[in-house]
């Protein structure tokens, strides 16, 4: 009560001011407070950098057939007998370096995860805003569809869409098309959570007096939703987006593991785990273990960030 809002306001126009406000904000402060969150942030940032800079930092290009040799297949990590310093984490069945493949695989995983989350958020936020602001029949229809979808596991929906897409596009959708298919499948199976959350927040916001004030002024309903309601419901969306990024990466890995994901020529972490799985019992554990660990660390870090963001944006917990 009396204790908040006690600081001297800072006014600086423009970008410098925005940056200053950002660094001074409670959210950033709570980020600095938690060592675990900072570590998670650092790990996530590392993955992003690695994914972005893959061609420059990876020891090899696992996609370049000229570079790989079957002679190098099944090499163990460098610290074991028979290891090779060129492949710090060993090689897979085709002689691709595990480390390089992980770096490129993280790229594929993050790309799919991000794109899928963006797509899901775009669909979910739009439908949630429409349902929440218009209410009535529109609301009922959208939310019933959402509930039906929610009763199927996301992976099943992704499999379904993936199967239909492959059927329509004919045979084995290759390369970039396969990426698009998997992004759409995951995106379409993840929108419900956004829609429900946004609808809830929208119902709260639309009864607030600033929205009513805009209605009295005569602002067009569409503009009210976009300019007034949307910015005020984005907090929870950000939280869901972070947490579902981790989920999307796992779903991608699962689909790839099941063989319906990204093509094996452009491995993602999931494809690698699947490939490695075949050799797990023949002693080549590194092919599956390192990508698995890389995936687990990434998902854990992103999840921790999501948890922190949820708490930081929740005024009740501050």
């Amino acid at each position: 009560m009396a204790a908040d809002r006690t600081t001297a306001p800072i006014h600086r126009p423009g970008l410098a001011g925005a940056i200053h406000r950002g660094l001074d904000s409670d959210v950033f402060h709570s980020f600095k407070q938690s060592k675990v969150t900072m570590l998670a942030g650092a790990v996530t940032a590392l993955y992003f950098l690695a994914a972005l800079l893959a061609p420059w930092i990876a020891p090899h290009d696992p996609y370049d057939l000229a570079n790989i040799s079957l002679m190098d297949s099944f090499l163990p990590p460098m610290w074991m007998d028979g290891g090779d310093a060129r492949f710090p984490l060993g090689t897979d069945d085709q002689g691709r370096g595990i480390l390089s493949t992980i770096i490129y695989g993280a790229r594929a995983s993050l790309l799919v995860g991000f794109a899928a989350v963006l797509l899901a958020a775009a669909i979910g936020v739009t439908l949630g805003l429409i349902a929440g602001y218009l209410g009535g029949t529109v609301d009922a229809v959208i939310m019933r569809v959402a509930e039906v979808q929610l009763s199927f596991p996301a992976i099943l929906i992704a499999l379904l869409i993936d199967g239909v897409a492959r059927g329509v596009l004919g045979g084995d959708a290759e390369g970039n098309l396969a990426f698009a298919v998997i992004i759409v499948s995951i995106g379409l199976s993840f929108w419900v959570q956004y829609a429900r959350t946004v609808r809830g927040s929208c119902l709260v916001e639309k009864h607030k007096e600033y929205v009513q004030a805009a209605r009295v002024i005569g602002v067009h309903p569409g503009l009210i939703v976009v300019r007034h309601v949307l910015p005020n419901v984005l907090g929870p969306v950000l939280v869901i987006a972070t947490i579902s990024l981790a989920l999307a990466i796992i779903t991608e890995a699962t689909l790839s593991f099941l063989g319906v994901g990204v093509p094996p020529t452009q491995p993602s972490l999931g494809t690698m785990i699947r490939v490695g799985n075949d050799f797990l019992f023949s002693g080549e554990w590194w092919i599956t273990l390192f990508p698995g660990a890389a995936l687990a660390v990434l998902v854990l870090a992103v999840n921790l960030l999501g948890d922190w963001l949820r708490d930081a944006l929740n005024p009740k917990l501050r």
Binding site: A2, T6, H29
Partner: protein, 336 residues
């Protein structure tokens, strides 16, 4: 002089924040005698609610009592361990909060709330406690208490719920009741009922009351003495009639003049210029001096203690060294 029920000396409450420590309650002292109603009045941010929560040990961390003493019937209670404090609340200090809806658990019946509290604080058995609960409900004016005792809070209207909360606060016959804005959430016509009920019950039971409110009308109707708070400090304390009609501190005076009154002139209201300072920017000297029409040099430099001013005491340099009884402004000297 008889031992006061509650004595607060130099109480200070602080909130450490990352931008420095804020002082929400700043060195305040007051006492409440047996059977007395002390009103604490002030605007939002004045520290009046914080005073109440500090007295009953319910300050939300990181807020803490950083100085001073709180004594209940002569025994210090500000350093009691949590479990002892919890027993004290309810048994020797009753509490009434602003929102009657959140003071009652919606999952339990009214009867459960009452019998549970009675059995916690007395050695009555189940049947006895229930009989006592019905008695209490009758006393606070709930019609058909024998039937309504088994209903849930949502069956009760706001005013009726506040009556139940009052019954709960009085269950264990406490010596002191702390009522924080007990009528603010209620409709005008219900407010009057609740004030009268609170007054009557405390008189009948000989209970002292610490009544915290922003509403001067409620104070004028209920309190025996009033403490006026501003920016965490008590600026004036005195008999209610004296403070309401013959204010000695310029802030109290301004506050009283700012209240619209029926039958008064309908031209512009008197207004205090400016706004209450933020806790992080409390001015040096008298906290009110930037807004005070009669501030002089000393007010800007030196913080005034409570000084005798007629029948009241006011923290204002206008009363320094002045013969007792001389008022500062309107109708000075008239005392009740």
């Amino acid at each position: 002089m008889a031992r006061p029920v509650l004595q607060v000396d130099n109480l200070t409450v602080e909130f450490p924040t990352r931008r420095g420590t804020l002082r929400a309650v700043d060195d305040i002292s007051f006492r409440i005698d047996a059977g007395e109603v002390l009103g604490v009045v002030g605007e939002s941010g004045a520290g009046k609610s914080m005073t109440g929560t500090a007295v009953i040990g319910l300050l939300e961390p990181p807020g803490r009592i950083s100085g001073g003493r709180v004594q209940l019937e002569g025994a210090r209670i500000d350093h009691l361990p949590h479990d002892q404090m919890r027993r004290l609340r309810g048994q020797r200090i009753g509490m009434i909060f602003q929102d009657p809806l959140t003071s009652l658990n919606p999952l339990y019946t009214i009867g459960f709330h009452l019998t549970e509290t009675i059995r916690t604080h007395t050695d009555r058995g189940e049947a006895e406690a229930r009989a006592r609960a019905i008695e209490l409900l009758t006393e606070v004016g709930i019609p058909a208490p024998a039937q309504r005792i088994d209903q849930y809070p949502h069956h009760f209207s706001g005013g009726m719920r506040q009556r139940v909360v009052i019954a709960l606060a009085l269950c264990a016959e406490p010596r002191l009741v702390i009522a924080d804005e007990p009528t603010t959430a209620l409709d005008v016509s219900i407010q009057a009922q609740i004030i009268q009920l609170l007054k009557r019950l405390c008189r009948e039971h000989g209970t002292s009351v610490l009544l915290i409110t922003h509403d001067m009308g409620v104070i004028a109707e209920t309190a025996d003495r009033v403490a006026v708070m501003y920016a965490g400090r008590i600026v004036e304390v005195g008999p209610v009639r004296e403070v309401v009609q013959n204010a000695k501190h310029p802030y109290t005076e301004g506050l009283m003049d700012a209240i619209p009154k029926i039958g008064g002139r309908t031209e512009d209201l008197a207004q205090i210029r400016g706004t209450m300072p933020r806790l992080s920017q409390i001015p040096a000297g008298c906290a009110f001096h930037p807004r005070c029409p009669r501030a002089f040099d000393r007010c800007r430099q030196e913080r005034p203690e409570l000084l005798d001013a007629g029948a009241s005491r006011a923290a204002c340099w206008l009363h320094a060294g002045e013969p007792a009884g001389a008022g500062t402004g309107r109708g000075g000297g008239e005392r009740g």
